[in-house]
């Protein structure tokens, strides 16, 4: 305001400045300065209130009812939905699947992204071309990719099994086998996001001063030592960021498992729910079984789990990266 306050009087025409009473124009301009900021930020807050905050709170409200889609008067049942949920084997199964797929995807993904970033950080010929090439999967439609990978991992005629058999290995029933399906879905996720994360890590790597590497080199540190003791500790904030975003995304995974089903259009996540994730179960409960109350309970529990794991991640990443940062000194 200081800057604008100072110039605001000059906004009116010369000559008027001597006038002791503010003119209409002057008042209008003051009012403009005062009110405009609120007008400019209003769209976000109004929209967030309507489609973000309100739904989140209203989900909590709906979760206290036996609420069938389309029914006129839902029954209030208190916390019964949550009680039922905690005894629901299908929910625990979905949660286990989600965490398993999440771990299988984000752990290798972040490790590979860091190594890939180290390669991309070299003085490459055609550097931008390589970066664009690595990022290509990010642009693909998730649905298209889900369908393409379901085809590649097809149990009978899928290319992957064809290759396995050609090199003398047994084919895997990627859809029926629980662990196999998790691996396949994780590969799909990693294919899409590794390049993206590599670029984020690369940006952080390039922000590391060259002198640090030169000094370490003169002290006799080889490539790996420099990577381990100089690069990695300085990447810590970025790694925390990447881990948390991939956690939030990973725990909500929906499109990949939905499209991976051998029975297309099904929301079961395989014949015995072997790869049904929590969001897929939520979708099935709400929009296939029309049980909105129960689905809302799932949504809230998932929300709390995401918050918990994100916090846990934050502390874990901090602890893992700290000892090296100390060693560097």
């Amino acid at each position: 305001m200081t800057v604008l306050d100072k110039v605001a009087p000059e906004g009116s025409k010369a000559g008027e400045r001597t006038s002791p009473r503010p003119t209409f124009r002057h008042r209008l301009s003051r009012w403009d300065v005062k009110v405009s900021p609120y007008l400019y930020i209003a769209p976000f807050f109004i929209l967030f209130g309507i489609v973000g905050l309100f739904p989140l709170l209203y989900t909590a409200y709906v979760s206290l009812f036996k609420w069938e889609a389309g029914s006129d008067d839902p029954d209030f049942i208190g916390l019964d939905n949550f009680k039922e949920l905690f005894a629901d084997a299908q929910f625990w199964n979905a949660l286990t699947n989600t965490i398993s797929i999440f771990l299988l995807s984000s752990v290798p993904q972040i490790i590979i992204a860091v190594l890939l970033a180290a390669l991309l950080g070299a003085r490459l010929r055609g550097a931008t071309g390589w970066r664009v090439g690595i990022l290509l999967p990010y642009a693909a439609s998730l649905v298209a990719i889900g369908i393409i990978f379901a085809n590649l991992f097809g149990p009978k005629y899928g290319l992957i099994n064809g290759v396995l058999q050609t090199i003398g290995l047994d084919p895997v029933d990627w859809q029926a086998n629980r662990f196999g399906s998790h691996v396949a879905i994780a590969i799909m996720v990693n294919w899409r996001w590794t390049g993206y994360n590599a670029l984020i890590v690369l940006a952080a790597m390039q922000a590391i001063p060259k002198e640090l590497h030169e000094a370490a080199l003169i002290d006799g540190a080889g490539t790996w030592r420099r990577f381990w003791n100089v690069t990695l500790p300085l990447l810590r904030p970025t790694l925390i960021f990447v881990t948390i975003t991939s956690t939030i995304g990973g725990l909500q995974i929906f499109t990949e498992p939905k499209l991976f089903d051998a029975m297309p259009g099904s929301n079961n996540g395989g014949s015995t729910n072997q790869f049904q994730t929590v969001t897929l179960y939520l979708y099935q409960t709400a929009f296939q079984n029309a049980d909105l109350g129960y689905a809302s309970a799932i949504a809230w529990v998932l929300f709390l789990i995401i918050v918990l794991i994100a916090l846990g991640n934050f502390f874990l990443t901090g602890r893992l990266a700290r000892p090296q940062a100390v060693k560097k000194k």
Binding site: A144, I147, F149, A203, G265
Partner: protein
């Protein structure tokens, strides 16, 4: 003798420092493998789309495209309302992109350059909402859309996405550096209203960031699946919903379905090839600032 030795030692070090960051051949080989891996699923999808389903029963499939792509593609248009889906996706993504960029730039301008009560707290609030997974609110949102009678219409897809916390955050970060206070001052001396300052001074200064935000928003909106699947029906889909409907059924006709995925991927691939450099720069810039 000792000086000579240390001289050669120094020269060796200098050479070592000079080669710092110089790639080896292996670096190119590994990167090439990754790029091929990135490309392969696209190529595979086109391969199947350009042949017939017989290809899929062969243990070692042919690796050159066949001649059936246009036949398969035209079957896509017969099976689902694909033209309508394309038009719908363009309308949804276009509208969402325009409003997101406009509202985000406005809010970014306010947060970066205007002083007002509660500014910092409100901005922190926006950053916190970045972590709230909005898709968990789909049930009440769906109830609300049914009450409003919007289900099945594009309005239901567009309205919840008019502006994003990420957009506001992104534009604010850029505007802080890109727009000097002197320019705003000068404009006020000339008697500009705030909205004219935004339009004539701020927007031109933040155009690069706005362009990057536009690209990301368009790509995200084009690829959005869960919410359109919830509120739209098979008769009036977006491209992603149409693709899913193409695949649903007792018997999956892969040549047909993958012709659909190829068609849906072509527009975004063209955008990506044309603007790849800016997209890469945008991701890396966002990472440093975030």
């Amino acid at each position: 003798m000792t000086t000579l030795q240390s001289e050669s030692h120094k020269a060796g070090l200098r050479q070592k420092v000079a080669t710092l960051g110089k790639p080896r051949k292996a670096t190119y080989v590994v990167l090439a493998i990754f790029v091929l891996g990135s490309l392969f699923p696209f190529y595979w999808s086109f391969l199947v789309a350009s042949r017939d389903n017989g290809m899929l029963t062969e243990r070692i499939p042919p690796f050159v495209p066949g001649g059936n792509f246009f036949a398969n593609a035209s079957r896509v248009f017969d099976t689902v309302p694909f033209w309508k889906a394309l038009a719908n996706s363009v309308i949804v993504s276009g509208t969402v992109t325009l409003t997101t960029v406009l509202f985000s730039s406005l809010a970014g301008f306010a947060f970066a350059k205007l002083r007002f009560r509660g500014r910092n707290k409100l901005f922190v609030f926006i950053v916190v909402t970045l972590a709230v997974p909005t898709q968990l609110g789909i049930i009440p949102l769906f109830i609300a859309m049914s009450e409003l009678g919007w289900t099945g219409t594009l309005t239901a897809v567009i309205v919840p996405n008019l502006v994003t916390a990420f957009g506001v955050f992104w534009m604010r970060q850029y505007t802080v550096d890109a727009l000097p206070y002197e320019l705003i001052e000068a404009a006020r001396v000339d008697g500009c209203s705030m909205i004219r300052i935004f339009w004539n001074v701020c927007l031109p200064a933040v155009r690069p960031a706005a362009a990057i935000l536009a690209m990301f928003t368009f790509m995200m909106s084009w690829n959005d699946f869960l919410w359109p699947l919830v509120v739209l029906d098979a008769g009036n889909p977006t491209v992603q919903v149409a693709l899913e409907k193409l695949q649903s059924g007792y018997y999956v006709d892969y040549s047909l379905v993958l012709a659909g995925t190829t068609l849906a991927t072509i527009p975004i691939l063209i955008v990506f090839v044309l603007l790849g450099r800016q997209i890469v720069a945008g991701i890396m810039q966002g990472a440093v600032k975030g």
